[in-house]
Symmetry: C2
Subunit: 319 residues, 2 copies
């Protein structure tokens, strides 16, 4: 059994995601016939059918499902290898921290202060991205360490929880609900979050949508049991920044569930924050590639966990 090639995996992933040879070929920037042939050759090489195709329907076999999953992680590993080597050769070493803006539980300034005193410390660069972008960034080598809310798909990553903080609901100060000191999730039925999901449903699949309303391509859509949808939504171009979110909240169009540390940074008249009894708290987590051997990452992890442990009794409640 000779080894697979990256090209074959890329092709297969495209077809498996699109479930359509024509569209997959278009996405790959090639014609359909060579793609068909390549997939067929892949199946011959493995000795296993990966797709059941009629001229009207393409579906994954169980083996295809397995390969789709493993091929994605293998492709991640390959691009990560290239990117990390590239970076290691560049003149300016730095520690790239992936996070979503403001989602640091208020710890980052203190962490960075102490981190800079470490012997193994490197200059720090923040890689800000939307929800669901941090873990893939670690896997493909475009960041060295990430600060992100659990749960998330942590395959290939090492993980250290830093702190758990409650979330509040942000709603229009003029909303009748704002008159009450404390709410339940059920009270929020009918309201929607910035990403369009109903506020009283907490089952949003991780890695699919962004709190800011951007819909991301799921990098490894580990739908438990379900089969991945064939169509992959590109960025919906409805990106909301914080100012827009606040504006919409103020107008009563949406509500939002920021953690207290974010709230503390954005006091704003016209927006009321209230505790929600059954809203799960947010656990901020530190993650880095399991393959990392970088002393700079190790030092950062050490510093961050120390700071979090030292600070975890500080005022996490909010009036």
């Amino acid at each position: 059994m000779s080894d697979l090639e990256v090209r074959q995996l890329r092709y297969f992933v495209a077809v498996a995601e699109e479930l359509h040879f024509g569209r997959a070929a278009e996405r790959l920037g090639m014609a359909q016939p060579p793609l068909s042939r390549a997939i067929r050759e892949l199946e011959r090489q493995l000795g296993v059918p990966l797709l059941t195709r009629t001229t009207r329907q393409v579906a994954l076999t169980p083996a295809g499902e397995v390969l789709l999953h493993d091929a994605r992680t293998a492709l991640d590993a390959v691009t990560a290898a290239g990117r990390r080597a590239q970076r290691a050769g560049r003149s300016e070493p730095e520690l790239r921290i992936a996070m979503k803006a403001d989602y640091d539980g208020g710890l980052l300034p203190r962490i960075l202060d102490r981190y800079r005193e470490e012997a193994a410390a490197l200059p720090v660069r923040l890689v800000l991205g939307g929800r669901g972008e941090q873990a893939p960034a670690l896997r493909d080598g475009s960041a060295d360490v990430a600060l992100l809310p659990a749960p998330f798909d942590d395959h290939g990553l090492d993980v250290e929880p830093l702190l758990t903080e409650p979330r509040l609901v942000a709603l229009a100060a003029t909303d009748p609900l704002a008159a009450r000191p404390c709410l339940d999730l059920a009270d929020l039925s009918g309201l929607i979050l910035p990403d369009g999901t109903p506020a009283d449903r907490e089952d949003l699949p991780p890695g699919t949508t962004d709190d800011f309303g951007v819909r991301y391509r799921t990098p490894a859509p580990c739908d438990p049991g379900g089969r991945p949808r064939g169509t992959v939504a590109g960025p919906r171009s409805r990106t909301l920044d914080l100012a827009q979110i606040f504006n919409l909240i103020e107008l009563g169009s949406i509500v939002w569930f920021p953690p207290v540390s974010v709230v503390r940074r954005h006091p704003r008249p016209g927006v009321a924050y209230r505790p929600v009894r059954d809203l799960p708290p947010l656990t901020l987590t530190l993650a880095w590639p399991q393959t990392s051997r970088s002393p700079a990452v190790a030092a950062f992890v050490r510093t961050a966990t120390a700071i979090a442990a030292a600070g975890d009794t500080r005022g996490m409640m909010w009036g």
Copy 2:
């Protein structure tokens, strides 16, 4: 930056391990000039020098060290993808358990009994191999779950410790040391283990040698800070089976450090077992690929940890 290809990674790993283009080319079954050109092209593609070469000396740059490490894990991921897909398509699904013969802490019979009653259970197949083979087997998809002594290189794996058991020293009954009820490591200086290392040095790098005397190719030689040795020893063909080991022990040629559960299975006149005060115990660990989504693996892990938890107060002492 276009994606790397498996071929490029294989080539680079070969050169980086051999630190010699000619030998690397021979190992790859090709001529030297195309290999030189391929590596050069890889460097051009990444925009980073990976090797410093004079006509007499080839050495890795820092970027090369990083790539060597990451390329190995990427290659593992690729072959694992192929192998697991292949397996998923074959008619007979089964759960392949990698372990070294007898190194199950005596748990395996009970684990298997209970496992077979699980709904998600599959027929079990044992994949026996020497020390250091289990973790690579998980990574390259030739086993689904492994039972192995910690510590080991666990990158890409999820891990669950099962039990910790003391080890004894096995020596010739006629050895003067056998007269003493308990020994120290220092007492054993001058004696050697089956793999040839001195018995009083407990710093043998994991994944390098086998207790049975086979020397394995290091799969991911994570020497902390040091540079990987250029020469990679193939199997030294000096494989010792248990009978040979016992024979050599009996003759006083070697000593051995089996855990008590192994000792219990191999009572043998002519061989004495004695506790060693400062000999670290052996922690038997369960490991499986982090990417595993198999219900059969999940059921096995559940069963094994339950059995280990239930049995961990049972008689682990001996003699």
